[in-house]
Symmetry: C2
Subunit: 326 residues, 2 copies
């Protein structure tokens, strides 16, 4: 069963109501009522060795940072502020205490970067190193950015280069050595930076209609926005932003750059939509945040389909991304 | 490293402050601010195949129920009401969709029993079936029952028979067939019932000074209360309540009844302390809730030690319980 089919089954089955819940399954985070105008956001990620990370590549300090970062990115994707975390870890008995110590330092470092506090967790053993992190964030309720607000005619933006992390993953898989060319790609995969400050600025602006983070590749991530908003999308191949040296790297190591940009996951940048009339305002937010916000396409009325336009051609890339499928 | 040493390391390292957090690591749940007088409680448990459950014994429906129950029990242990849940599961590719369907039904059933709603989660694959559940509860802030309030001279109570689940676990391990004698013990292990209604009633009474659930065996569970309260405890062997037929079962199957009662885990009953002056009030709560609350010992001034008194003898059983050690 694919992950999204499984989620869809769960979404249909678990239909108990709660007056506390503002938004359940179907977005980057669940949203529930907080104090007064404030609401809480909750997200969780289960990371499994050799599915989500490879221990021999991944320095434990950076893995600790990433274990938290992928969750903080979900909070950022709704324009909220990360606040509290729970951490569960199942450890193989063979794992050294120095590995664990460095991993904990990494967790602490990423939590500290974003003013987020560890409040508890669970620890046990397993033959497979398994990490579950849950992060709670807060936001004024009316400022939360859902996947569901995109409207036909809106522009689609991404907050940074695409395919960087996926290229790094390919290099690590091939056993390529780190050098001046490869280092930033590997680093993007091993130590992604969640876009909390940008998410907050976009949320505060009031101009963004839908947002999520780039975790499964933009083909899939935009498909989620389209599914929840009841719209479609068209993105333009030549507008997709890439890291400097990305094309050089891809030709040096025989990688399909376009495939990495479209279907590669884990850039943990933001993808969002905003009305065409707000182009200058969005540009100003990017400048203020030191981020290059790139307009890559438009929202279409046609429900649920995502197309990639390249020259005269047009290809359906709906959910053409990367899944950690069960 | 033992689980509690690991937790202690984490507790010392992660010392960022948050104005939202009322209680961090060191109790059944973390507690943080909610709406007005209400606070939130958060707990998480990571369950690993062959560490916490054995798939060939555990009907998926009952495993689904238990996956949630162990977390709801932590909410009950603080006198709170379970409200929202997050669910992560890593599935071996070989697992059938009917297994998954029955497991989901079990999750749904336990959530429904306690008015708790699934708000989200994560799903992935792993060679080892791994389940992480996070439950959020609510309580008026001044009604939350911590481990830290026990005072020298208080009585110690348990809310039900001890060793029942551990006996069931032993029977299942030995491959004993289910019959009229063994059935209730196996059921206690496979389908534990969190004591939410009792926890709420004890919290509402205002008479309980400290409480937690019986998950690791009372020797360990009472040691936690003593550690957090800065007190000691003495329990009396002959007062420990046991299921009808417990002694018969233990002699039939060559089990050490006392060991199971002291160190066996997973009864998911409550252990709590209250001033001697409140004995009649506590008894009345038990009657009203249809639960037999048994006074098993007293809180001592001596810090951190737990003793078992039997006849003229006295044995130190501090942390003499069962741990899912990493």
């Amino acid at each position: 069963m694919r992950e999204r089919d499984f989620i869809s089954t769960i979404r249909n089955r678990f239909n108990h109501r709660s007056e506390l819940l503002i938004k359940g399954i179907g977005d980057d985070c669940a949203v529930f009522t907080g104090d007064g105008d404030l609401c809480w956001l909750a997200t969780t990620d289960l990371l499994v060795e050799d599915v989500h990370f490879v221990r021999k590549w991944h320095d434990p300090y950076l893995l600790g940072r990433k274990s938290v970062a992928v969750n903080i990115s979900d909070i950022a994707a709704m324009g909220a502020r990360p606040r509290l975390a729970l951490l569960s870890i199942a450890l193989p008995p063979s794992l050294s205490s120095s590995w664990l110590d460095r991993w904990q330092h990494g967790v602490d470092s990423m939590l500290g970067d974003h003013g987020c506090m560890l409040m508890g967790g669970d620890t046990t053993r397993s033959s497979v190193l398994t990490i579950n992190v849950m992060v709670l964030g807060t936001s004024p309720a009316e400022k939360v950015l859902y996947r569901s607000g995109a409207k036909a005619g809106d522009d689609i933006y991404v907050s940074g280069p695409l395919g960087t992390s996926a290229a790094g993953f390919e290099l690590l898989s091939k056993g390529v050595q780190e050098d001046a060319l490869t280092e930033k790609f590997m680093r993007a995969h091993l130590d992604p930076q969640p876009q909390v400050a940008l998410g907050l600025a976009l949320s505060a602006s009031g101009f963004v209609t839908a947002m999520q983070d780039i975790s499964d590749g933009i083909a899939t991530d935009i498909s989620h926005i389209c599914g929840e908003s009841g719209v479609g999308a068209e993105i333009e191949a030549e507008k997709l932003p890439r890291e400097e040296d990305f094309d050089t790297l891809c030709s040096s190591y025989d990688l399909s750059g376009q495939n990495l940009m479209i279907s590669g996951g884990e850039d943990y940048e933001l993808v969002f939509t905003a009305a065409c009339a707000k182009r200058r305002a969005i540009e100003a937010i990017g400048l203020a945040q030191g981020k290059s916000l790139t307009r890559i396409g438009s929202v279409l009325a046609e429900q649920g389909r995502v197309y990639l336009r390249q020259g005269d051609g047009k290809k359906d890339i709906t959910f053409g991304g990367f899944e950690h499928a069960p």
